[in-house]
Symmetry: C2
Subunit: 309 residues, 2 copies
């Protein structure tokens, strides 16, 4: 018997994340896989997923009959569209939502998604298990979807007090079937953690490029930028729209991390200004050691993908 | 006839940078190459370069007779030791310095090196042509030296008012013979440029790891750090001693860039706080476009090496 089986999975937004879930479940364990339906804002975007064989059927979000048909008898619904659409998507889903259907999501922020879900689902909030697969890549879209995208990657679940343990375990089992490793934490913890290790670095990286751009000798600076600049600013190649939404969605946690960072930077500034080499070396050495320990513990593997989302 | 020939080159500090110059000159154009002498603070460090065939002879810095012999009839001297040693090295060199010998360096800061050179060389300052090959790598030491390290890389020269044009051209020709591309700018310009595109990113990267370390949920944060964190903090794996020295040596320019950055960051903070998505998207999109243009123009090639120095 298959470790995870389902009869019907409905994916809202069949891009890299949703498409890789579909391919992971279907190609890694064909025995357990049921039907996968893709739903998109415009039909032609999900039709591409259909052509590629990533899904079995496609439905347009604004086609009420197709949506009802898609959600009929669904075991699991995955929201894999931008987090700002969570409330609107759930409002479309809720009239057709069966009692036995579980909903999860792939959003990179959690407190705001949960707030939207509570507003849209009301008493049915127990059916929503918030999640976040940590597996972005530079590429996006269903063409970039891979059956092994999640192998060895973290998927964070942020169970709600209302969720039945079986519901959480069912979503965990789905992700484990794609090769992912499951972590659970509270939504507040999740948002602090990702504000720190993902959202803040993106803001810092965008800020550096923008600051150079605004300087009078920008051209000269860019022409001598080398490997350090390239690595530091790789994440500034990320989608402006997505990172705008992330910054707004995770505003509170991001501001807290940004303020702590600004303080840490001010201390380094004071040490540079005072010519305090010992203080600088202490911070740099401590930082290097912590980063090396991270890499040693498997950070490198966990970080095989390029930018995170 | 060879494009660049020399009879005797003396390298102080035969590590990655000095060793790669020696190998580049000897292996890329054997016809033009003369003798290469390595000088080290301790003899055993340069003896390794001798064993590897990177240099023809080794001398210890504190051996006066060997130093005199090494510098006798030298065309070019390269200082490739940490910049903080510049003054002390030149004081050892100056008693044996012939009028026809040119000195250049490989330091990643220039104003401080020039100040040290003026103090040590006095009236002979015209013999010193300040330089900076932009070709660091994660590895260091003479074992990592490569004959083609400089192929397609930038070497910045910061000619002094006292330098004869022929002196500058001779040093430029030496680097060109290794495959490098020569740029010239003033020392102040150089220090601003590298404060911006190299020194500041290093400080920002060290600061992020240190700020995470100091937070109560550091362990959890590190355990979910992924690709964005990895890229952003790759340069925090750099030598704490070297970056301490760079920060102190380039203090003025670095503080100016750091202050401009802090201001840019404060503006982004205000936009996040105000929920001003349009302002965030404008900065992120502008930054992404500039970074893409940089990569397009060949930044990728120039950045093939990992961390810069």
């Amino acid at each position: 018997m298959s470790a995870f089986s389902f009869s019907k999975l409905v994916i809202f937004g069949v891009g890299l994340i949703g498409g890789s879930l579909a391919r992971g479940l279907r190609e890694r364990d064909a025995e357990g896989a049921g039907r996968v339906i893709g739903v998109g804002r415009r039909l032609h975007t999900v039709e591409r997923a259909l052509e590629l064989g990533v899904i079995d059927a496609a439905a347009a979000l604004d086609d009420d009959a197709a949506l009802a048909e898609a959600l009929k008898g669904a075991d699991i619904v995955l929201l894999a569209a931008p987090v700002a659409q969570t409330h609107a998507l759930l409002e479309r889903i809720v009239p057709h939502l069966e009692d036995t259907t579980l909903i999860t999501d792939a959003g990179s922020t959690k407190s705001d998604v949960i707030e939207a879900a509570r507003a849209a689902l009301g008493a049915r909030i127990a059916q929503f298990v918030p999640g976040h697969p940590i597996a972005g890549r530079e590429s996006s879209g269903v063409e970039a979807a891979l059956p092994d995208l999640y192998v060895g990657r973290n998927v964070v679940l942020c169970p709600l007090a209302e969720n039945a343990p079986e519901a959480v375990e069912r979503i965990a089992a789905m992700w484990r079937a794609t090769g992912a490793v499951i972590g659970t934490m509270s939504a507040a913890q999740h948002d602090r953690v990702f504000a720190s290790v993902s959202h803040l670095p993106h803001v810092l990286s965008f800020a550096l490029v923008d600051q150079i751009l605004a300087s009078p000798d920008a051209e000269l600076k860019f022409s001598f930028a080398a490997g350090g600049f390239r690595d530091f600013t790789r994440i500034a190649a990320s989608s402006p729209e997505m990172w705008r939404d992330v910054c707004l969605a995770n505003r509170t946690a991001l501001l807290a991390e940004l303020d702590a960072y600004t303080e840490a930077l001010a201390k380094l500034r004071a040490a540079i200004d005072a010519g305090d080499g010992a203080a600088l070396e202490t911070v740099f050495a401590r930082s290097r050691a912590a980063r090396a320990a991270w890499q040693e513990r498997g950070g490198k593997r966990a970080a095989d993908a390029a930018p995170d989302k």
